[in-house]
Symmetry: C2
Subunit: 220 residues, 2 copies
């Protein structure tokens, strides 16, 4: 690989790792804000999503410049194009963290989360955090095994979402429709965050193994 191309790709990789770190922090903070009904943290998460969007634009511009200047082919071309896809998944993960923060803010100063949901949402947030961390590691190490682990993490997330719904739909649910809707939407935000982490990880996996990317199924 030519030195200029290598430098361009390193820059794309560096930006993607920054994005992965930013969206991991965003979801961790959003969860904290949700659990503690902390308005300042909600507002910080919402404000800082603009930084993720800005990084996304940088990635796209860098990819565009690389394609225009270097005209890569074969594996190099695939590597460059993969940057666009991963950046799109990471940006969406940032949006979902922002949605969690907005949900918390909408109920402020009341807590958005009834006591019955704290444990399952805390578990979902822990899985989300682990997955975002792995995406960062996969980007840094191109370790395909870690990418595959993301799929079993995603199964754990789906199982937690089933638990969440069984609580929401229990005949003794005491909090009414509004809290049930909030809970269902929050569950969906974490679950979609996980889906995008899997997607991002798969992109790296397919790149390393040379298999064709197949759009993954998404759980409704």
């Amino acid at each position: 690989m030519r030195d200029e191309l290598r430098a361009d790709l390193l820059e794309v990789g560096r930006l993607l790792v920054s994005m992965a770190e930013a969206v991991r922090t965003a979801m961790a903070r959003a969860t904290e804000a949700l659990l503690t009904a902390d308005r300042a943290i909600c507002e910080m998460v919402i404000a800082r999503d603009a930084e993720v969007d800005e990084l996304h634009r940088h990635v796209d511009q860098q990819v565009y410049d690389t394609l225009a200047r270097q005209a890569p082919v074969a594996t190099d071309l695939r590597l460059v194009i993969t940057g666009i896809r991963i950046a799109a998944d990471l940006e969406r993960m940032g949006d979902l963290a922002e949605h969690v923060a907005k949900t918390a803010l909408r109920r402020y100063p009341a807590p958005a989360l009834p006591p019955q949901l704290r444990e399952v949402i805390t578990s979902m947030a822990a899985v989300a955090d682990r997955m975002a961390g792995k995406v960062g590691l996969v980007l840094t190490t191109q370790n395909a095994t870690l990418g595959a682990e993301l799929e079993s993490d995603d199964d754990a997330m789906d199982e937690l979402q089933r638990q969440l719904f069984s609580i929401l739909l229990h005949k003794d649910w005491p909090h009414g429709a509004e809290a049930a809707i909030d809970g269902a939407l929050l569950g969906r935000f974490y679950e979609r965050y996980a889906d995008h982490a899997v997607n991002a990880g798969q992109q790296v996996f397919y790149l390393v193994t040379g298999e064709t990317s197949e759009p993954p199924d998404v759980v409704a």
Copy 2:
């Protein structure tokens, strides 16, 4: 523009128009299945989403081949890259139609939609259908005005979503948490479908006007 590049771009455009038509039909059918609790239509929508995914793979392969063979630059390069983004939005619209069908199927043979929600969901589906139709037209005509219209359609969708939530959260809501959650998630599926239609339209708009693509805000 060279003839080979023009032919490649026409092929990308042809595939994208097919995708836009397919995801418009998918959402129209999913809505019909939802309103009539029709199991066969649900299953057809779910099965045929694989065709949208297949078209998506064709677009990506065609873009990849075009970049490798033609090494386009400047506007041509932007045009080619835009194909990847639009295909991703269209595929996601297909997934969302599938989610609507799966929601209907999960409650079958009961209707997933209580009578109070039929009118607002029918309106949301009508806006979604109009928007998907415009995406197809924008792709065919590269008419930037139509692309801009998508944003006001999206405002209409957001307003309908507010109406939906005000019904779900009314103190006299008689259907319990499960139907409220279904209603909220269905609303979100239509609203996200509209967001992706706006995104796809904006890609064409930015392409025609030469403005930089800015990731749009997404309503939680």
